[in-house]
Symmetry: C2
Subunit: 162 residues, 2 copies
């Protein structure tokens, strides 16, 4: 079942910003990301899970060099939209299993998660698409995560950075 996997990608330049306790109604996501794009800040991944009691958390990642600027933009917005607080973490990395049509055949995500567990790497965030299963992890786990994933998916070498 490893035949749909093209390779393992990783990115060491990953900084996460999380806005906590974001009110869950139309316009909130727009009021966070429009100012970021107006400031010319490139956002890599965006993750929002479903709300509980009408509140949710909204996370996004940027390159480390964009963090100060992103926080300067987001800080006032956090108050305007009535969110409870803002956190950021620069000690993260991204590892992805890259393939095609993986969601139509069970087992790829579980293989990735079992593999990270085997090497003691905690999964901080998960986001997926048809061609990519992405986990955000602590940066110190990246090398062992990549080696373990190559072995679990029977691959030779990294396909690419990020």
């Amino acid at each position: 079942m490893k035949d749909k996997v093209k390779g393992i990608a990783h990115d060491l330049d990953v900084t996460k910003v999380t806005i906590l306790g974001v009110p869950d109604h139309p316009g909130i996501a727009a009021s966070i990301f429009s100012p970021l794009s107006d400031a010319g800040i490139s956002v890599d991944i965006i993750v929002q899970n479903s709300s509980v009691d009408k509140l949710t958390d909204l996370s996004f990642t940027v390159e480390r060099s964009s963090l100060d600027e992103a926080l300067a933009v987001i800080n006032p917005i956090t108050k305007t939209i009535g969110a409870s607080s803002l956190t950021s973490n620069t000690n993260l990395a991204k590892v992805s299993v890259v393939g095609a049509g993986m969601q139509s055949q069970p087992g790829y995500a579980s293989t990735m998660f079992e593999c990270l567990n085997k090497v003691g790497v905690n999964i901080e965030m998960i986001t997926t698409s048809e061609i990519r299963i992405t986990c955000i992890i602590h940066e110190e786990g990246v090398q062992k995560a990549i080696r373990a994933l190559h072995s679990a998916f029977e691959l030779e070498a990294d396909i690419e950075e990020s």
Copy 2:
């Protein structure tokens, strides 16, 4: 800036399962998704945001026809891993802006979010990759969301289902 967008995709067969209050340590994601893949259940998207006080929520989507089976698998696991509860929602749909290299140029996500806000569609979940910005919304908003997104990104017609 619309030039990187290939089209708008949507999927009406979207059922979400959320496991709330999942302990955030290695092995938890594996213990949720291995039984699902052993049962032959195909999972579409998986979303996990970062934890607060060592707890997070883990959501995934399946086709409606797989919900009963997925719940039968996940119900006992919810207790075994010490999660607090389990919810599911079958009234959802997925809309995605599909393109290439969108994360390197700011504005695509904010355009999508502004657009959904304009037609009063609430964004329930967000997940992204380099080639796709995906929002889970309530299914009754799908038609107006698709029309509005085509117009916002100056596109002719749907590229594909899901």
